[in-house]
Symmetry: C2
Subunit: 237 residues, 2 copies
């Protein structure tokens, strides 16, 4: 992150400034309105100078995407490290961490999980690794609950059919997971269900005054997500 010469250190600092200013503009004006000229203004530099650091507007967007995924995943990891080491609580801890980060950073959340920015395609080589960290963590947390014998399996376990079974086998192999098909399928539902509720909250898609305490509503949603996995939830029993 830092080079050894003064020039390299100055460059690294300027690079960080650009990303920080970009984040701020994202928060105020949204991704579609992110402009290199505005970033240059806030950086106190003429607009063409930014091109010494960033090849184009799209490249700045990519930096912000990677930055966002990384911070979100770090927040999730930190919450897990700080939380109780209870396999029954894993999904709740991950869920709350995602929601809290999203509410604190609505514009960055929108960049990652909202409407795609028109004309911009995130380059896979840079964004896939940070972008998959949260789902991987969620799968590992579910694996722990399963290993602890907390999850009730359906009996008999349903056959999922192709190509889904093959897709799941590939994911399982890539991550070295010990999860049966039925649980992988449910985990994916939990994943989309989690982000669905967070998106509704962050983007204000419940009515404005429909729910007085959305954190409370979210806890009930987590109950239901745990229920999908076959985890017994006190308040559901």
């Amino acid at each position: 992150m830092t080079g050894t010469t003064p020039r390299a250190r100055a460059r690294a600092r300027t690079m960080e400034d650009i990303v920080r200013i970009g984040r701020e503009h994202l928060a105020v004006h949204g991704a579609a309105a992110l402009s290199l000229r505005a970033v240059a203004r806030d950086l106190g530099v003429v607009s063409s100078a930014v091109y010494r650091y960033v090849r184009s507007r799209d490249e700045l967007l990519t930096l912000l995407v990677v930055d966002g995924y990384t911070e979100l995943a770090d927040a999730v990891d930190a919450a897990l490290a700080a939380g109780p080491d209870d396999p029954a609580q894993g999904v709740r801890v991950v869920g709350r961490a995602v929601r809290e980060w999203a509410l604190a950073e609505p514009a960055r959340y929108g960049l990652l999980f909202g409407t795609p920015v028109p004309g911009y395609e995130a380059p896979a080589e840079q964004t896939v690794a940070p972008g998959t960290r949260v789902i991987y963590t969620l799968l590992r947390v579910i694996e722990k609950a399963y290993a602890a014998g907390l999850l009730t399996a359906p009996d008999p376990a349903p056959a999922l059919g192709e190509p889904l079974t093959g897709d799941i086998a590939r994911i399982r192999a890539e991550l070295g997971l010990e999860l049966p098909d039925w649980l992988m399928a449910r985990a994916i539902s939990v994943w989309t269900g989690l982000f669905g509720a967070v998106t509704f909250d962050v983007f204000d898609q419940y009515g404005a005054d429909t729910f007085g305490d959305r954190a409370q509503l979210f806890e009930r949603h987590l109950d239901n997500l745990d229920g999908i996995l076959g985890l017994p939830v006190p308040s559901r029993e």
Copy 2:
């Protein structure tokens, strides 16, 4: 929709053209880039002429929002009318209709359920009524399944706590629903869970090639949503 004089009829037709062209621009360039000048160009008219029909860019956005909510809700209603009158299938029919409309109209779906357009706030008087149709329909469909005795209640039913219980009571009263608290809370989870999965699909937030058949994955998701409600799902048993 049509007036009686030729002038009024011409005006109505032009109005429809504006909304149609706006829809097309939405699809190609996204909501943030929607421009009155571009609409005017496609309409074959000078840019200031559009102001005879629409007070501002924001008003055009509102027209498109209302138009989108209405078409989505109409699609859901049509699917229910065409589908089997089986209370056990209601959520599936609604879910599939939402997903199919969203995949066919990704830009309009994004306008309704994606990142809020920066600087634009939808006026409640015009957008709330069409915007709540789908969730109201979903609740009625769940009510039917409940009335048919298809949903297994938790025993004992959990207490939700305030203010959620009060919020739910208000919704129930407004819609004249016969749903107990526990089921209302689950219905809300199904709602956000449904849109979460559709959003992942439409916005391509699963990895590009992670799942070979997303319709199949969505059916498994619907299984899990039915499971939240306490509906016995063949492939889950």
